[in-house]
């Protein structure tokens, strides 16, 4: 749903305020404890953040992609771990169901996903199927009116909190690659499903990823999402949309980092002047600002095109590629502007430097985005 300017600004203002009053003050605490306080998670639920992209009929906000991106940019102004808490409900964990679910499947799950009562996860990656995600080996064997799942998924965001997984598993072992894969809605309390220990990660402490192990998990056939063999299509369409959301988060973090850099450079004095007055520092600020503006423009323009019904596979990959690489460069420069303080935990910049590294890796590495942009550009003939 698209809104008028007043409602949009009220919505963004509310999020901006929540981020600055509630989230930013506890960034270091969350990183230290590797946990977001339950009270904050409850506030996020009460605010409606878990339901940003869920259709209104199921209790969500049904934001247009452009508005979702604007919201993601606001949320980018704090540790990305906070966004990750509800990010799967907004993106990869729920969108397969929104796009391919039957009426009955949607009615059963979406209302509780929108409120955050159920956390969702997206389980595609496996030990042997990363960038080559069509190579999934997790098996789903049909036995009467159930599918029996066996296998293991790896690096699954929010797996330890999830109530529902969208799982890509191979229904046809004879069909190699994408054709033999189907998608399933798998409740986390089914017997035989277990979750590994959270991985120790480089950044984004407070957000967790774990293995998900399926040992003879009997999933009712009515939980299949889309037709048999459509699983890879489900996964790719889900990721297509997610890329714009990630791009917007990258823009938000970059804007935050630039603001931090400007504040620091204006205060910090060397050689008798604020370091912001040195042109070599200004060059880093100018380059960062220019790239952040470019990423913002590309992301929002692509989101508007998607809202208008255009296919944006190429542009969304280009946005994700550019925005995630951009925020990496910006974070690097901001550490440089902070000097020694940039390397010291108390200033928070080194934390964001580590936090943004993942954006170039998940939901398709930069190389995978390059492959997509090239493939689509070749198809289009320019």
């Amino acid at each position: 749903m698209a809104f008028d300017a007043e409602t949009r600004s009220q919505l963004l203002e509310t999020i901006r305020r929540f981020v600055s009053e509630r989230l930013r003050p506890i960034e270091a605490q969350v990183a230290e404890a590797d946990a977001i306080p339950d009270e904050i998670l409850d506030e996020m639920k009460a605010l409606g953040l878990y339901g940003l992209s869920i259709p209104e009929a199921y209790g969500g906000l049904d934001l247009a992609m452009e508005d979702e991106c604007l919201v993601a940019m606001e949320l980018g102004r704090t540790s990305p771990a906070f966004r990750s808490a509800f990010g799967t409900n907004v993106g990869i964990g729920s969108q397969g169901l929104v796009m391919f679910g039957t009426e009955a499947q949607k009615a059963r799950w979406l209302p509780r996903i929108a409120t955050g009562e159920i956390v969702t996860s997206f389980a595609l990656t496996e030990a042997e199927a990363g960038s080559d995600s069509a190579a999934v080996q997790t098996r789903a064997r049909r036995e009467g009116d159930v599918y029996v799942l066996d296998g293991a998924k790896r690096y699954i965001t929010n797996a330890n909190r999830a109530g529902l997984f969208t799982v890509m598993a191979r229904t046809n072992p004879d069909a190699k690659g994408a054709a033999g894969v189907s998608a399933f809605l798998v409740p986390s309390d089914l017997p035989g499903l277990s979750i590994g220990k959270p991985e120790k990660k480089m950044g984004q402490q407070g957000a967790h990823i774990c293995d998900v192990i399926f040992d003879g998990v009997r999933v009712p056939a009515e939980n299949r999402l889309g037709a048999e063999g459509e699983g890879f299509k489900v996964a790719m369409q889900v990721l297509d949309r997610g890329r714009l959301h990630i791009s917007a988060v990258c823009v938000g973090v970059a804007e935050r980092l630039i603001a931090d850099a400007v504040a620091y450079a204006s205060e910090r004095r060397q050689f008798g002047a604020a370091i912001a007055s040195f042109q070599l520092i200004q060059a880093m600020i100018a380059d960062s600002k220019t790239e952040a503006l470019a990423a913002r423009a590309l992301t929002l323009e692509t989101a508007r095109q998607r809202d208008a019904g255009a296919s944006v596979t190429l542009e969304a990959s280009a946005a994700k590629l550019f925005a995630s690489e951009m925020v990496g460069r910006v974070a690097d420069r901001v550490v440089q502007i902070f000097g020694g303080a940039g390397y010291i935990a108390d200033y928070g910049v080194e934390r964001l430097y580590r936090d943004v590294r993942i954006f170039r890796i998940y939901e398709g590495t930069s190389q995978v985005q390059q492959l997509i942009v090239a493939r689509e550009t070749l198809k289009r003939g320019g």
Binding site: M1, E6, Q10, L11, R17, F18, A46, G48, G59
Partner: protein, 249 residues
């Protein structure tokens, strides 16, 4: 029962106020405006009373320019049911506002008016008291606790050095202090639902007109700039300075 909550649009409390170069007032051009924080507390309290089933309808009213609709919209998103804007570009003084609010009370017939103890722009702390006097209603200002029952309201007030608890017959006017509650963030779904609630736009003439002004602002000045502090070398030096120079110990 119906609760009326007057709300005011003011300079956002996070924004540093800048005085206009001619010292005629605070520069409001292109600065962020928001609901007065004490009004927000008043709205929150009304919404809590409604959530407890003690009130049926909350009407938010504002006297101000067209954009004050956004302030009313915020109150609607927090849980008020209906809005009323008395639209004026004049900056009416407290008595003029109180007189129009009196007319609103007579038209709407609320049993309780909850409003902020003061607005953070003029810091007048006057409209609530004036409104109660004009209506000849009991008033409880600086409320830190409000307990509503059938025909009365019990209000705990923050007064110098302690608390005072009053029991007022309804209808009454209550003004909210900082510690009455912590206002909620309007949830995103409620912001969207607030779009569908109505805001009536009226003019001062619908409520008795703008009263003749008795006050004129002569001059507004910035607070004096703080001078730089001094650094002391030792704790002993600090103690001695606190004794001799600051005279605080």
């Amino acid at each position: 029962m119906k609760i009326l909550v007057p709300v005011k649009r003011v300079l956002d409390y996070n924004v540093k106020a800048r005085v206009k170069s001619d010292q005629s007032g605070v520069d409001l051009a292109n600065v962020k405006m928001a609901m007065n924080p004490f009004c927000e507390i008043a709205v929150e309290e009304a919404v809590r009373l409604k959530e407890k089933g003690l009130a049926e309808e909350i009407v938010a009213v504002s006297v101000g320019p067209t954009p004050a609709q956004e302030t009313i919209r915020t109150a609607l998103a927090m849980g008020a049911d209906r809005g009323l804007l008395i639209q004026t570009d004049a900056d009416p003084e407290p008595l003029a506002v109180a007189k129009m609010l009196k007319a609103v009370v007579e038209a709407e017939g609320p049993s309780l008016v909850i409003m902020g103890k003061q607005a953070i722009d003029g810091d007048n702390n006057a409209v609530g008291q004036m409104l109660a006097a004009l209506l000849d209603w009991p008033q409880a200002t600086f409320a830190s606790k409000v307990e509503l029952s059938a025909g009365s309201v019990r209000v705990t007030r923050e007064v110098d050095g302690g608390l005072q608890t009053l029991e007022l017959d309804l209808p009454a006017v209550v003004t909210a202090d900082l510690r009455l509650n912590e206002p909620r963030y309007a949830s995103l779904p409620n912001i969207m639902k607030a779009k569908k609630k109505t805001i009536d736009i009226k003019s001062p003439d619908d409520f008795g007109g703008l009263a003749v002004a008795h006050l004129t602002v002569k001059k507004v000045t910035e607070p004096p700039k703080r001078t730089a502090g001094v650094k002391v070398e030792t704790a002993a030096e600090l103690v001695s300075k606190l004794k001799t120079e600051a005279g605080v110990i």
